[in-house]
Amino acid sequence: MDPVFAFLALLTTAGAVAAVSLRNLVHCALCLVVAFAGLAALYLQLNAQFIGFAQILVYVGAVAILIVFAILLTRGSEPGNQPILSSSWQAGLGVAVLVLGALGVAVASSFVRYYPVSPAPQPTVRELGEQLMTNYVLPLEVIGLLLTAAMIGAVIIAMHEKQGPR
């Protein structure tokens, strides 16, 4: 196994685990940034440049900052007094292992025999843009509408915070 991959995989997983297990929410958010960055590095290592940079720009840059802001604005940074793990965490772990097992078995039995897959395309940003504006213009437009709806919803629900119930 490639040592770089191993390092990145460990970093990403450790960041993700820390993000859900730390008590201080700000620390959680920062760990999430680590996980996002690790993922981006993995993409770059796989030669998927566009998606790698998009990951950095969107997730590390925007989403993480948004989360930090949301934490700061809503409840401050005082740690809650609730236990991190819910009482039924063993069951949850069991189910997670089950799903992982099913996926793992299916993936393993599907690809071992077909290992040499065709070389992945290496789309440039330009090609991606062209595809989005021609073949995939309808989904793009629908996503635009989706974002509009989501924004309206966010405004409506957030407005409530300011005015309070009348």
Binding site: A106, V107, L145, A149, I152, G153, I156, M159, P165, R166
Partner: protein, 481 residues
């Protein structure tokens, strides 16, 4: 590329944006009446859809979008449902603190999503249209900000919906990874080859999980009662009718248009799911006292009945689903319209709120009772014939699959159980005493019109089902059955 095919969707989106704009210049007391404008606009688009023809399937956007009889059937279905829901929303307007125009607009955006879903011929479009519906509903469910129940419903729907979407998109990715295409037409060719790889089946199953969540099929039904109970009544109505039907059209398309060769191996799975859904919905509905929660469980049961048609895997079954949805549309909308009017200022939506309704408003009482009787599947109302057709489709299937007779037994057991709680509602309306509130209820004329329309349709579909059945039979010719 043929833009004119999706003219209906664009008209709906345009109308929705126009409502948002008009909101800026409308004085506050007039804002609620924008709903009538919205209903009128959607009504006009509905009438326009009647002029459209789809004899042969027509494609647009690189075959991502298809307009055939099936798509057109569902577009009309969604448009009609939206008209009634919008009228209902106007009635509901004073219970929403602010943003009523946005409420109307969001309903129309969700409608556009459903209409795109009806025409989806590609997993990408399936995903984005489904997300458009779901994200809009996250907002619509939590619209009554003052009520904890409403916010709770929104949060629950959001988190479980996100979970379901994650499975869906993961499934699509796996399917694409193996078959190298997301288009239904191309998938059909490669599905046989790809089905040798378990990961392809895995992907399809995860897609089914996502769709099963939308139609609230067992075992992905858990969210439905809580969300139905907590949401504003018009949202619940649209969720029960529109969102569920969108799930069904996508289910039909994926199973019988994209991968029919694989679907045939899943008869047993679908039969088990259908049977369990029927039993779960009906059994859990028995102890319910909350009317909306009761209808939530009942909607699970009805999803189960419609899954009978999927499990039957013949054109009789699929056309029966379409008929059933048509009957279900009018019945459920009538029920929710009444709930919306009656439950004004009543916290908890308890069944006792409709006690003595026949003295307060005979029209509301009759509408709700007829809706319950139709849901219970008693002739001559529409609900009966739907169940009749579905059972018949399963009986036909029984020749090759003896397990079908068990399924029929389960379905009939479910119907018998359901009588218990549906008649409980009817009994509360006519035969209960001790209701404190006995003042007359004023019913505005648009509500009256929509109620009369629903009642007339319930009777018409029950007495003269052949027209709709024949339309449905034509429509399902688009599927590979």
């Amino acid at each position: 590329m043929n833009l004119s095919l999706s003219i209906l969707e664009f008209a709906v989106i345009g109308a929705g944006l126009a409502i948002l704009l008009a909101d800026l210049w409308t004085p506050v007391p007039q804002k609620r009446n924008l709903g009538y404008a919205a209903a009128a606009a959607v009504g006009l688009i509905f009438l326009a859809s009647m002029l459209m023809q789809a004899a042969a399937p027509a494609y647009a956007f690189e075959k991502m979008y298809v307009l055939d009889g099936l798509a057109l059937f569902f577009k009309r279905f969604f448009l009609f449902a939206a008209v009634i829901v919008l009228v209902m929303s106007v009635e509901f307007a004073d219970r929403i603190e602010a943003g009523i125009a946005e409420y109307y607009a969001l309903i129309m955006f969700a409608l556009a999503g459903m209409m795109f879903a009806a025409s989806a011929n590609d997993f990408i479009l399936v995903f984005v249209s489904l997300e458009l519906i779901t994200v809009t509903f996250y907002v619509l469910t939590s619209f009554q900000r003052g009520r904890l129940h409403s916010l709770e419903a929104g949060v629950k729907y959001l988190i479980l919906g996100a979970l379901a979407s994650a499975f869906l998109v993961y499934g699509i990715a796996l399917v694409f990874g193996v078959a190298n295409t997301t288009n239904f037409g191309e998938l059909m060719g490669s599905a046989r080859v790809a089905s040798a790889r378990p990961v392809f089946l895995l992907g399809l199953l995860l897609v089914l999980v996502g769709l099963g969540f939308k139609i609230a099929a067992f075992p992905f039904q858990i969210w439905a009662p809580d969300v139905y109970q907590g949401s504003p009544a018009p949202t619940t109505a649209f969720l029960a009718v529109g969102s569920k039907a969108a799930g069904f059209i996508l289910l039909l398309r994926v199973l019988f248009s994209a991968v029919p060769e694989i679907t045939v191996n899943w008869t047993k799975l679908l039969m088990v799911i259908a049977g369990m859904t029927i039993l779960y919905g009906n059994l859990c509905a028995i102890p319910q006292r909350n009317l909306k929660r009761l209808l939530g469980y009942s909607s699970i049961a009805h999803a189960g009945y419609m899954l009978l048609g999927v499990a039957a895997m013949n054109s009789a079954g699929s056309s029966a689903i379409l008929y059933y949805l048509g009957a279900y549309l009018f019945t459920v909308l009538a029920a929710f319209t009444v709930i919306c009017v009656v439950m004004r200022g009543v916290e908890g939506d308890d069944i006792s709120a409709v006690a003595g309704l026949h003295q307060r408003s005979p029209l509301l009482a009759a509408s709700l009772s007829l809706a319950m009787v139709s849901l219970a599947g008693i002739p001559p109302l529409a609900g009966f014939f739907g169940k009749f057709l579905l059972l018949k489709a399963v009986v036909e299937k029984g020749a090759t699959q003896p397990g079908c007779y068990w399924l029929i037994a389960v379905a009939i057991l479910g119907v018998v159980i359901s009588l218990y709680y549906y008649l409980g509602v009817v009994r509360a309306i006519y035969w209960s005493k001790g209701s404190a509130e006995l003042s007359d209820i004023k019913v505005s004329w648009p509500i009256q019109v929509s109620l009369y329309a629903c009642i007339a349709a319930m009777f018409y579909l029950g007495l003269f089902p052949d027209r709709l059945v024949n339309i449905a039979m034509e429509a399902v010719k688009a599927l590979k059955l």
